[in-house]
Symmetry: C2
Subunit: 596 residues, 2 copies
């Protein structure tokens, strides 16, 4: 199944919702306006449609394999990766000082969606490298930056995140990997890490592992964790590769999906100790890891949107081709393509509306990131940082949960053919299942949303977001069309539901944590639903306006129809989400533990 | 992962909700009371836990394979099937006149759940044989019955349903397989059938294919379809096997799940014609096929409950063992098993409540089936038949959709380990995906519910069901406990939502079919949610009463807690489902076809 990047929809979001014209006013981004976005996205689409997307099915059928410590990636991956790096795609969002292109995330995130949609397994390698770059940029010494950044940003070397150990998944306090200072400024690292994405592979000449470990004598728990750079190959002072470091892949996992992406078990220090270099200061590793983690969390949210888009495209194509039964309204004289059946339309619209809503939310978040990091006015930067931080768990949690519903519908549209692996619809269903788990499960995102992003300031930030939504409702009401009013009505109900949930979280997170966290994931889903629905409402307003000016009528009408569908079929769930949170907390933990 | 049949919960449903005491008053079922149910279920549990369940993972890792026209099933399947037939399990619900045990469906359905939970792939073979038996019992000539029934009921031979062709999936009007009368009462059958479950295998000595085909000159569409028996091996007059018939497996599918169950492409008549025997009359094949289909649809619904139960058990076990993070309420001094975390509890409760609700609904439906087919009072039989017919699309559609949510949560509870195939949680997720597709997709079930079961009588039957629910609400209110009142409140809101949807369907199915069928699946989900929630409410009433008598307090308290959770977290969705159906129909089909 081919993939066509939804560049037009992306540019609509970038122009009208993320407001790239505002981003382009930030010093350093003067050249990163709509024209640049359009040019970069077109180029990105061309590359990924042509080179990366065709390897997606191949990666599923012919996964990465492991033998004698070596991982061989899917045939074609190495060559595609070489083309990827040669074209400079790894450096898109990274500083020009280290060879990057310094483009805003507003553009980079859309490129990320295209890359992930083309091939989720392939795209994970650059995604992890991005995280390593962010961590080194923020916390690395000048020496580490000088040695590693240029090679990572060019894609010549790749990066990994080494957090998980068999006993330490979500709970990083349990990390046992040790780092012993050697007196020369280096450390020797000993331990086992699991679930390391692209922890070993054959696409790049070196792999830069970023590893959480404990220095002897460090405090217990997360306050005693440090972050180390542990390269696969040592790096000589001239930048050339030296000896093999004592960090070895001992196996890779047999997974439900993203099979082409090697998930490694890494053994550090089995042959004398792996040489590691401290990043930043001792015992601040978790803080630095969160830099990578937050970048990766946003990226995983984008993966959800990407795989949803690809599943949608495949389902639409099948629904146009597969002939089965006469439409119930008699609009065709005989059996016709199943896209004529209302329930197939309902499934496709659900897929489409979720995907567009989450894309719009992610695009708006990307613009907030750019302002947070680069806006010259510190207050504007702070406000955008807070807004971005609020959105990250929604982009990650909501977009990935929705991707599983969307890919499931994608299989369902195909009927029996969907269950046959050759069709390819099932791959998206399998691939998407990891997205609600890695880089923090949905529950971990929800804890973040409830604890740090909602309760800590007594719900003030959440309410400020709600106030912005109320303004959109007013604009929708003022526009006077039936479509806008229908959306305004559902948006108002969802916002009110959200506000009740915010109050509940603010009141209960400390006083009755079981009640608050019983509703944390439903709260995340409610918030994600609301914010994505809000963006659909904003899109509708823009589309109405442009349509009334005669601009691109068919596209604008589709925007309006999709926004209304979102409101009436997805946003409509918000009051029940509120009831489950606010009125149903006790029944979550009422069953005695031994009664399960 | 081992499986323990939930016999106690099944017997609770059979005794108090399905009311087996009423079933045992029906002539012929005098010995089929609660004691018999308990004895049969215990025996069934023992057999399946010990023999069939251990083969479930093996079947996934070592699926059925195809070579030179032969299918070799997973190692162990053939022996387990021999034990299955020797113990007489195939004949459980079938007439004693042909060697069966003549037990009511009220007991048989629970045994079915145990068998399916033990091994979905294995259990499909008996499920299809059941369908063939039903069709022959209802429509077969005395001669066909004499030749085939005893061997099918003993399990010595197995049955298949041959409906689907490449161009004819849900749309059986497109069937092209031909049957040519030979003048001697037999026919020669020519054509290709796909997706034939256990269409070829090595577990039984003969396979009895029930095949839809067109006799030359028959009317177009579904009114020109006839049903034929086409045995794999011809049967001599003494019952021994004769020559190989011209019905051959040419390949089996590579599937997302239920991999041990061979899904065959069958070629009929490539070597001169496959000898077939007409079942009943020409051109009434669809009617007969629906006999098999309806039995199979109920059975597939039970598969959904079964795989949900198994996923639930596995998730509970993992949640008890996996230690990660300190509970938010500080109830443990350090990191504890994840079952202490409220969000894990929420996931497990969701899995549990869905499974219990659907099991209760299926159990009640089974008792209605028994009364429909065997009650001496024709009016009671008719009423039960109507109720059963109403419930079949709910048991099939709702239980299978819920099974996908439950098995997805099952993976999620496992975190990263869930994505690793060795864990086994992913198998349930993959296996369950077929359940909303085969034997009629959820949309096909919904069409049946909307068209034949709701709109045809103007919603009268649906409203009669709602009236019964209203009575349960009154009993809940009268009981006066907070739990009962909370459930009554959600039940009342859901019933009102359902009634609005019924009126909408009655008004629009003919007048505005696009609007009605845009909401058909949401309507099915709403109805299933309501009826399962109703059974949870009934269960709560019984549990309160028994608990107050001091009977099995812990079990009864768990029933009450689960019912309240169902009401507050699942039933609570009903009003939004109503809004989407009644107020959101237009937006389902508003997008222009070429805008997708």
């Amino acid at each position: 199944m081919s993939y066509t990047a939804p560049v037009k929809d992306m540019l609509f979001a970038i122009e009208h919702l993320a407001r790239i014209d505002h981003v382009a006013q930030i010093p350093g981004f003067e050249d990163a306006g709509l024209d640049t976005a359009a040019a970069v996205l077109e180029e990105c689409a061309k590359f990924n449609e042509g080179v990366v997307a065709p390897l997606n099915v191949e990666g599923d059928r012919n996964p990465s394999s492991f033998k004698d410590g070596q991982v061989t990636t899917t045939p074609g991956f190495k060559d595609a990766y070489a083309q990827f790096t040669e074209a400079g795609w790894q450096g898109l969002q990274h500083p020009a000082a280290f060879g990057g292109q310094g483009l805003p995330k507003t553009i980079g995130a859309a490129c990320g969606e295209i890359l992930h949609a083309a091939n989720l397994s392939f795209a994970l390698c650059p995604l992890l490298t991005d995280g390593a770059i962010e961590a080194l940029l923020t916390a690395g010494s000048e020496e580490l930056k000088a040695i590693y950044l240029e090679k990572l940003i060019s894609g010549q070397w790749t990066g990994t995140m080494n957090l998980t150990e068999p006993q330490a998944g979500s709970d990083l306090a349990q990390v046992r990997t040790k780092a012993e200072p050697q007196g020369d400024g280096t450390y020797k690292v000993f331990g086992t890490k699991i679930f390391i994405t692209y922890g070993e592979h054959d696409m790049a000449e070196n792999i830069v592992h970023l590893v959480l470990a404990r220095v002897a004598g460090a405090p217990e728990g997360v306050k005693g964790i440090s972050l180390f750079v542990v390269p696969k190959f040592m790096v000589n002072s001239d930048g050339s590769l030296g000896a093999r470091n004592d960090a070895h892949c001992v196996s890779i996992e047999h997974k439900l999906g993203i099979k082409a992406s090697p998930t490694a078990v890494l053994q550090f220090g089995d042959h004398g100790g792996a040489i590691g270099y401290l990043v930043g200061e001792e015992n601040r590793g978790l803080e630095y890891m969160f830099i990578m983690m937050n970048a990766a969390r946003y990226g995983v949210g984008v993966q959800g949107i990407a795989v949803a888009e690809r599943a949608y495209q495949q389902a639409v194509q099948y629904a146009r081709e597969r002939v089965q039964s006469r439409p119930v309204d008699g609009s065709l004289p005989a059996a016709g393509p199943i896209i004529h059946h209302p329930d197939v339309r309902r499934m496709l619209m659900t897929m489409r509306a979720y995907t567009e809503g989450c894309r719009a939310m992610a695009s708006v978040a990307a613009a907030a990131f750019d302002a947070a990091h680069h806006h010259p006015d510190p207050q504007v930067a702070r406000d955008n940082a807070a807004f971005y931080e609020f959105l990250v768990p929604l982009v990650k949690g909501y977009s990935t949960e929705m991707s599983q519903e969307v890919t499931s519908l994608g299989v369902q549209v195909h009927g029996g053919m969907g269950f046959i692996e050759e069709t390819g619809a099932a791959q998206h269903y399998r691939d998407s299942k990891i997205l609600t788990i890695y880089e923090g499960t949905t529950a971990i995102q929800a804890n973040d949303l409830v604890g740090r992003k909602t309760a800590r300031d007594g719900g003030q930030l959440a309410k400020a977001v709600a106030a912005q939504i109320e303004q959109t409702e007013a604009e929708l009401q003022a526009s006077g069309t039936a479509d806008a009013q229908a959306v305004a009505r559902r948006l108002a109900a969802a916002r009110q539901a959200f506000l009740d949930a915010v109050d509940f979280m603010a009141a209960n997170t400390k006083a009755n944590p079981n009640a608050a966290f019983a509703g944390s994931v439903p709260y995340l889903m409610l918030a994600g639903n609301l914010v994505a629905g809000w963006q659909m409402g904003r899109a509708l307003l823009v589309a109405q306006q442009l349509s009334s000016k005669g601009q691109d009528q068919a596209f604008m009408q589709a925007k309006i129809a999709t926004a209304r569908f979102y409101a009436e079929h997805i946003l409509v769930k918000a009051p029940a989400q509120r009831d489950a949170i606010v009125e149903g907390a006790a029944s979550v933990t009422a069953l005695a533990l031994d009664a399960f």
